[in-house]
């Protein structure tokens, strides 16, 4: 059956696992914005190396697990880069230097540089995202968003409950397609499958909301079973990430 990848207890107990999810989210966002400032390939490469290293050392993620999470995303990054190089608008500009000619296609140096820059950025996002996902418990993420990030409780815990339903909906989709086949209908992607899935999702949501309301959710002030507090670790990790970004950008412009 389908199960969502969930971080193991060892990663959750690691320094990166104990860092507030909000700090990690902030790092992801900050690095992403920082990379917009440069087209140089070195800063993103440095940050990818740092993210992977931090995941392995500070997050105690087993190398195989990290690789399994990264591989599909990195092939996506490669695909996006190649696509951007091949179909760049600069390829039709005769004044730009030619990098390669593939039959009728002309690829300029400018286009290749763009493609590489975009691919590297996607690569960085993928690395940071996978390390984040493999060291962050969904419950702790929502606790942090609600307690430290002032996210409305109704939205935060509602989203968390909905997230638990994803594997169930994936199974429902399989069943709906099988139900079409056994009734003599072709199982190609017919809109009615999506309608059926939507109906199921809404009904599941209704039931869940009812069960949550029956347990007094959203009715008054809540207390907290798990307090999320800012720690020194959060400060250290956050500061290190800022230093890393600034250093990477400095190397890029040097």
């Amino acid at each position: 059956m389908i199960a969502l990848a969930a971080p193991a207890d060892e990663q959750l107990a690691s320094p990166l696992g104990r860092t507030s999810p909000l700090v990690k989210l902030g790092i992801a966002l900050g690095w992403l914005l920082g990379l917009v400032l440069t087209l140089d390939p070195r800063p993103p490469l440095i940050l990818v190396a740092l993210a992977v290293g931090a995941g392995l050392v500070l997050g105690r993620i087993p190398a195989r697990r990290l690789a399994a999470g990264l591989l599909p995303l990195w092939s996506v990054a490669l695909g996006i880069g190649v696509f951007n190089a091949l179909f760049s608008g600069t390829n039709v500009d005769p004044t730009l230097a030619e990098f390669a000619r593939l039959g009728p296609f002309r690829v300029t140096e400018q286009a290749v540089a763009n493609g590489v820059a975009i691919a590297l950025r996607v690569l960085t996002i993928a690395a940071v995202g996978v390390v984040f996902g493999l060291t962050t418990d969904s419950t702790r993420l929502v606790d942090a968003l609600v307690q430290q990030g002032r996210l409305p409780e109704r939205f935060g815990y509602g989203a968390l409950a909905a997230y638990q339903a994803i594997p169930r909906l994936a199974e429902a989709l399989t069943t709906l397609r099988q139900a079409r086949r056994i009734r003599g209908l072709r199982t190609s992607w017919h809109p009615s499958i999506l309608v059926g899935l939507l109906v199921l999702a809404i009904r599941h949501g209704d039931r869940l909301a009812l069960a949550m309301d029956a347990r007094a959710f959203g009715a008054g002030p809540r207390s907290r079973y798990r307090e999320v507090r800012w720690t020194i670790l959060d400060g250290v990790v956050g500061l290190a990430a800022i230093v890393a970004l600034v250093a990477a950008l400095a190397i890029g412009t040097a």
């Binding site: 339903a165 347990r215 079973y225």
Partner: protein, 554 residues
């Protein structure tokens, strides 16, 4: 921080002529319901499917009318509060409700967080939560499960977790709406044991809606029976109700106790094993050879299963949750392709085609050869009207037969044709999905838990229709947890455990129940016990006329 409401003692429930009509529905879901429950008593609510049992449960838990548009009548007092006007927090602190489907009431990823969820909402101080969460888990037999993820638990464990979450705030009243409907027999029994312990300690006043009579009746201090119109048919002590109205209640489609001995006797008559899944002689409608299947390449859901089923055979596929019953069923009808071994499905008489691998048949041909009814009816509806649903892909001749079939299973198109399949009650949905599979008269019919949530009438209609199809040479294979259904239906019992076929037994004598068309044959149904059970000796519901019914009794 708010101080927890002082609760923990069982409380009183008083209902005076309460009723509720959902907006847009022609008649009330339930009406004129009156009763009084003293602290610590247990009320069992019974009734045919669609009689408003779940709606009544929601009302006692304060969710109707708060969360549903419609018209409320009467006066209700729950633990001294009027739940129709009281604050949601106040009601939730006094009343807990457990629903049918465990997966749609678990909110948090980790077990302990889920138990704490209700306490947090009520503003319990953190220190009190830390002592209460393990206590609540202990009370349902899940001590030590704190750090587990709720998605990794079995259905039975999830339902006990839901119970722990509801019990944690120590509600004085506990409402349970078919809490064991989705569980296998061991899971249901474990749940019932926990419930019996609560009832034994009189820890809470309990309102229980439950189809499994053998679990529910021993717990009940009072019985409330609702009729098709949502109005009370009977209210009283269990023994009184049985003595006074057993016949009337059975005719209304309500399950009554007293057949446990017969069911146990039936399972004791199974011939010893010795068959290995292969047919002794004759052509097979479907034959699986050394079939294996794995969903994720690492763990096998099914290993080297060989099974041949002949025309007219009625096979019950039994085994615990996760033993591979549904997987085998889907493989046999070509909805999954085996990762090892092979499957041959015979051609239908009409098509006159040779046996083939069902997974490679075009959908239209597959649908002529095999029918499949999924466990969750809601996951198989393809249209938004009952009439369209049963007619999907049918020719004109089959359409007339479809209308007749719908009359017979108690869903006449004149009344139900324009409704949405999703607005039917659970039992009605299941009968609709059965009609959708039967309407093409396939040579092989595979059913996944066909009797879940069926009332007596739906159950008997199912047996009658299956009996007819079997006589016409259809092979029927049903994956089921329902011991009663195995006793009434099966001519052969195949057991799966851990993805392997571990046992294959035939029932020595043909079951009189199906051969007589219906289980109405009095002699076969008379209990060995001396309990009063006039229920078995009355004429069956009119929706399913038997072919050769014995003369009217009772």
């Amino acid at each position: 921080m708010t101080v927890p409401v002082p609760v923990g003692r069982p409380a009183t429930i008083e209902a005076e002529a309460i009723g509720f009509q959902y907006a847009g529905r022609p008649r009330p879901a339930f009406a004129d319901v009156s009763f009084r429950l003293e602290p610590g008593e247990c009320l069992l609510v019974v009734g045919p499917s669609g009689s408003g049992k779940s709606s009544l449960a929601l009302a006692i838990a304060g969710l109707i009318p708060r969360e549903f548009p419609g018209r409320w009548r009467g006066r209700l007092r729950v633990a001294g509060l009027d739940p129709t006007t009281a604050e949601a927090t106040a009601v939730a602190a006094r009343v807990g409700i457990v629903f049918q489907d465990p997966a749609s009431q678990l909110v948090m990823d980790r077990v302990e967080d889920d138990v704490a969820f209700g306490l947090e909402n009520l503003g319990w101080p953190p220190a009190a939560m830390r002592t209460r969460v393990p206590e609540a888990l202990e009370a349902v037999g899940l001590a030590g499960f704190e750090r587990r993820r709720s998605t990794t638990l079995s259905g039975g464990e999830q339902q006990r977790l839901a119970l722990a979450g509801v019990l944690a705030p120590r509600p004085g009243i506990l409402v349970l709406d078919e809490p064991t409907a989705n569980l296998d027999p061991p899971g249901a029994r474990a749940f019932a044991e926990r419930l019996a312990a609560l009832r034994g300690r009189r820890a809470a006043t309990i309102v229980l809606v439950e189809h499994r009579v053998e679990l529910a009746w021993p717990l009940a201090d009072w019985i409330l029976a609702l009729g098709d119109d949502g109005r009370p048919m009977e209210f009283g002590r269990p023994a009184e109700v049985l003595a006074r109205s057993a016949e009337r209640l059975a005719r209304a489609g309500i399950w009554l106790p007293g057949e446990e001995a017969r069911i146990a006797a039936a399972s004791a008559t199974l011939a010893p094993g010795g068959r290995d899944g292969r047919l002794p002689t004759g052509p097979a409608v479907v034959e699986a050879r050394d079939v294996g299947y794995s969903y994720d390449r690492r763990t096998a859901a099914l290993r080297s299963v060989s099974l041949a089923v002949g025309a007219g055979e009625r096979v019950a596929l039994v085994g615990p949750n996760g033993s591979g019953k549904s997987t085998l069923g889907r493989l046999l009808v070509g909805l999954l392709r085996p990762t090892a071994g092979s499957i041959r499905l015979a051609g239908s008489e009409r098509s006159g085609q040779p046996p083939a691998d069902p997974a490679r048949l075009p959908a239209a041909e597959l649908a002529r050869r095999a029918g499949y009814v999924f466990q969750d009816p809601e996951q198989q509806f393809l249209t938004s009207r009952v009439a369209d649903e049963v007619m999907v892909g049918l020719g004109p001749a089959e359409r007339a037969a479809a209308a007749e079939l719908m009359d017979r299973i108690g869903l006449p198109l004149s009344e139900f044709g324009d409704r949405s399949p999703y607005t039917l009650s659970g039992g009605e949905q299941r009968r609709l999905s059965l009609a959708c599979a039967l309407v093409r008269r396939p040579a092989l019919l595979v059913l996944d838990e066909p009797t879940f949530g069926q009332d007596r009438r739906g159950y008997e209609a199912l047996l009658a229709i299956l009996g007819e199809r079997l006589e016409a040479g259809c092979a029927v294979l049903a994956a089921t947890h329902d011991e009663r259904f195995v006793a009434d239906f099966a001519g052969r019992v195949v057991r799966l455990e851990g993805g392997r076929l571990v046992d294959d037994r035939i029932v020595p004598a043909a079951r009189p129940t199906l051969d007589a068309g219906l289980p109405a044959a009095g002699a076969a149904r008379r209990p060995a016990t001396a309990e009063p059970r006039p229920a078995t000796a009355e004429p069956r519901a009119a929706i399913a006329e038997p072919r050769s019914r014995p003369s009217e009794e009772g």
